[in-house]
């Protein structure tokens, strides 16, 4: 009954057209930009201009407040009621080397071409990073995380969703709980990847080559699958219950890197990849 009443109360807000807002302001190349967008969608694009451009379409009953100076700007969605999450569609452009911070509850976050620092805090919305560089950190309770193209340091901490990383070069630090991790790294020069991946029950899949880097993988009971490129086989170190390790490849060389796997009771499988 309560929800029916709430629906009747808020239906007119939903039916009304959204309010569009355009804001532009001068900014330093490494400007700090912060967004608090509980629901909806935010797309951020790094560009080669010395300004921040924000185009928003906020849901009725919601407004985007914010402002700042050349060193830092901050925006937050505010709602007139606390029974719904403030929602908006945002298209943002920031200087490429900006320090970007986004906090969201259920909103979809997509960041493209930001080469400074990126930090995303999420509950359950999806996060996508495209062509990133520098340092990117994503913390999400159960929102899916997808990274395609990252050069630098990537930190992901999550719960039950999948972390899907492609085209990484640099350092990874990925920690999930029941969510899985899929990491694909290429054999091209400069595509070396190092770091650690850990899960509790989530499966871990690594495909490709570390390019000479060292990767430490640990799980409690999550299965580990390694699909390694012939000709780029790294050294393998596996600590797992004996029946749980079924390697079809063992040999490798130090120049191709090293992969260490430790699991309490997860299965480990290492084989050759046909491609990436």
């Amino acid at each position: 009954m309560t929800w029916r009443l709430l629906t009747l109360v808020f239906l007119p807000f939903v039916a009304l057209p959204a309010q569009q807002q355009v804001r532009g302001m001068p900014a330093a190349p490494d400007v700090a930009v912060r967004f608090w967008i509980p629901a909806g969608r935010i797309e951020v694009q790094g560009w080669d201009r010395d300004s921040v451009d924000v185009r928003s379409r906020a849901a009725p009953g919601t407004r985007l407040d914010g402002g700042g100076d050349r060193r830092g700007v901050k925006f937050a969605l505010q709602s007139q009621v606390d029974t719904i999450l403030p929602s908006a569609q945002l298209q943002v452009r920031v200087p490429r080397r900006a320090k970007l911070w986004i906090k969201s509850t259920t909103a979809t976050v997509e960041v493209t071409g930001v080469h400074g620092e990126l930090e995303v805090l999420q509950v359950s919305g999806g996060t996508t990073i495209l062509n990133g560089r520098g340092v990117a950190t994503v913390e999400s309770i159960d929102g899916a995380i997808s990274v395609a193209g990252m050069d630098g340091t990537l930190r992901i901490r999550g719960g039950s969703a999948l972390a899907n990383v492609r085209g990484i070069s640099g350092t990874v630090d990925i920690s999930m709980i029941s969510g899985g991790v899929s990491l694909v790294a290429g054999p091209d020069p400069g595509d070396d990847v190092s770091g650690r991946i850990e899960t509790v029950t989530g499966p871990v899949e690594f495909r490709g080559a570390t390019g000479g880097g060292r990767l430490d993988i640990s799980t409690h009971e999550g299965a580990v699958t390694l699909s390694l490129l012939p000709g780029f086989l790294p050294l393998l170190e596996v600590e797992a219950p004996a029946p749980a390790f079924e390697p079809s490849v063992r040999a490798g060389n130090r120049q191709a890197g090293r992969i260490s796997v430790r699991t309490f009771k997860g299965r480990v499988n290492a084989g050759l990849a046909t491609g990436i």
Binding site: T105, L121, V123, S124, E139, I141, D142, I177, T201, R262
Partner: protein, 168 residues
């Protein structure tokens, strides 16, 4: 004489108690002045005066009863309203704690969603911590298990701190 004829025509309704107050007053006054009509009215009223008039309560009693009836009518809306207010107050004071898996009713909606979404993985972590705790008890000093326990505890702290992040 015309008055006597008029009384005759009114007598039946008077005895039935259907005459108006003015008609009754006129009839009784006329019977008090006219021997003929008094002889008709007196025996008839002794036998046929309406019961309602014979047993009519004193004015003070009637007024008191009507006043209480009116008060009762006023209480008809007051009693349910008082019960509803009492129930609402009771619900506010002794509202039950949400069960596991339910979205807790917090003032901050984002915090409620975060706590709800984290509940499953906190359970996963607790189960794994308990399992490793038993394994360490069977193999005291096992470095691998000790390190794994440290990692799980770190993950639990992270998840709790991320939920708290949405409280603010």
């Amino acid at each position: 004489m015309n008055a006597c004829i008029r009384l005759d025509s009114m007598l039946e309704s008077y005895l039935a108690g259907q005459a108006s107050e003015a008609e009754s007053e006129w009839l009784e006054n006329h019977a008090g002045e006219c021997e003929r009509c008094a002889a008709i009215v007196a025996p008839a009223t002794d036998l046929a005066l309406p019961l309602s008039r014979v047993m009519a309560p004193p004015v003070t009693v009637r007024a008191a009863v009507l006043a209480r009836i009116d008060a009762g009518r006023r209480r008809r809306w007051f009693v349910p309203a008082a019960i509803a207010a009492g129930l609402a107050l009771t619900f506010m004071l002794v509202r039950p704690e949400p069960k596991q898996g339910e979205v807790p009713q917090r003032r901050n909606l984002s915090a409620a969603i975060a706590a709800d979404r984290a509940a499953h993985d906190l359970g996963v972590l607790d189960a794994a911590l308990a399992e490793l705790g038993r394994a360490l008890a069977d193999s005291p000093g096992n470095q691998g298990i000790t390190e794994a326990l440290g990692r799980l505890e770190s993950q639990r702290r992270f998840l709790e701190s991320l939920v708290l992040e949405f409280e603010s």
